[in-house]
């Protein structure tokens, strides 16, 4: 459960921390103009199941991820991301069906992105931007039910201060956009639990499906999107020892659509795990549905 959930949320967390540009599941290096704001709201539904153990765990996570970005300068932008989660796990234990559930605001992530390289030509641009952020433990991490403290993956927050960083490359033309991102999230310990660090390599292609030929002015674009996320999560540590049923590597593919206008974008995609190498009895992700919008102001 932990590995798949962490992989899925890591990808979504980084995507949510990036309100600009076009990929659905992660970052781009495109500009937030100086003094400009971008708001992104993303609804996410994730199903994590296929439990090989008799517990037959089945986890569902619904989330609403809000991101606000601000262009401090032409090259430097700040982003704040706050998720709200409803996490539910159903399992069988001692011959009984059990449900454990928690809802609430998650951890706040603040991220800065600096455009270190930019090449502009007519109708195209290349940007490379490193980013660095910190996740603060603002979400509840000690929620309990009648069975006691909920397990860490069901908590809305992690309880730890974590650090994330990476770099994103964007090549955009009038016909298509290509993005690639590498990122790393170092998790720290809280209440005897330390989630494994997460490394991710992401790629996204957005291809203009409509209009086929561009007219005058600023026409809206319909993009067909195909993204890939390779996510490796290290084993969690519980009480100072590695948890053998956590961590692993997952490759997601995400087909999707985006409708892009001057002031807003609507988008939807479904993230499907095509390769999952998870440790022990870690649960695999079935799918992640993502739908949302962005506005410029």
């Amino acid at each position: 459960m932990k590995a798949a959930l962490k992989s899925g949320l890591a990808v979504l967390g980084l995507s949510a921390a990036t309100a600009w540009g076009a990929p659905i599941t992660f970052n781009t290096a495109l500009p937030v103009h100086e003094g400009g704001w971008v708001l992104r709201e993303q609804f996410v539904f994730m199903k994590v199941a296929d439990d090989p153990t008799p517990a037959r765990r089945d986890m569902r996570v619904s989330g609403l991820i809000s991101v606000l970005g601000y262009g401090v300068t032409r090259d430097f932008a700040l982003f704040g991301m706050l998720p709200w989660f409803d996490k539910r796990v159903d399992m069988r234990m001692g011959g009984q069906d059990l449900t454990r559930r928690e809802s609430g605001a998650g951890d706040l992530t603040v991220l800065g992105r600096y455009t270190a390289y930019q090449y502009d030509a007519p109708g195209r641009t290349l940007r490379i931007a490193p980013f660095l952020g910190v996740k603060a433990p603002t979400g509840e991490d000690d929620a309990r039910d009648r069975l006691g403290r909920l397990p860490p993956p069901v908590q809305a927050g992690s309880g730890s201060w974590d650090v994330l960083g990476g770099a994103v490359l964007t090549w955009q033309t009038l016909d298509f956009e290509l993005d690639s991102q590498v990122s790393y999230k170092a998790n720290r310990e809280a209440r005897g639990f330390e989630a494994g660090n997460v490394a991710a390599l992401d790629a996204s292609l957005q291809y203009r499906l409509w209009p086929r030929s561009l007219g005058a002015g600023v026409p809206a674009f319909l993009y067909g999107v195909l993204e890939a996320n390779l996510v490796h999560a290290a084993r969690d540590r519980v009480g100072g020892a590695d948890d053998p049923n956590s961590g692993g590597t997952t490759l997601f593919l995400t087909p999707g659509l985006q409708y892009v206008t001057r002031k807003w974008i609507v988008e939807a995609g479904v993230q499907l795990p095509v390769i999952q190498h998870l440790h022990g009895a870690a649960l695999g992700t079935d799918y992640v549905l993502t739908a949302g919008f962005r506005i410029n102001f």
Binding site: G21, H33, E34, R74, A216, G217, V260
Partner: protein, 109 residues
């Protein structure tokens, strides 16, 4: 007599035409590099629209041009335009005065 009347009408017409041309707002055509998606175009409209004297901004994404219409008597300084384009996240390749105000979709200040 008829000839004098014709010359007078022509002269008045010419003067009216000249006055109208002199009163026409100055427009500029900016060639902007890096402009390649609708969502990014908003920033350049906003930044150029905030420049003093700018009445109207019209982006044409296919040609990578931005047409800026000024208020009567106002002029667009190239250095100011360059900074506005840069602050929007793009690069100004060139700026040329254009003849007439465009009627394209864009942002009125």
């Amino acid at each position: 007599m008829k000839q004098i009347a014709r010359i007078t009408v022509l002269a008045v017409g010419l003067m009216l035409g000249m006055a109208s041309a002199m009163a026409a707002p100055q427009t500029y055509k900016l060639r902007v590099d890096g402009l390649s998606c609708p969502f990014c175009a908003y920033g350049i409209e906003k930044k150029l629209g905030a420049v003093s004297g700018v009445e109207h901004v019209a982006v044409d994404i296919a040609s990578g041009t931005v047409t800026v219409t000024m208020a009567d008597g106002a002029v667009l300084d190239e250095a100011v335009a360059r900074k506005a384009v840069k602050d929007a996240g793009f690069s100004l390749r060139g700026l040329q005065p254009a003849a007439a105000a465009p009627q394209e979709a864009g942002q009125a200040k």
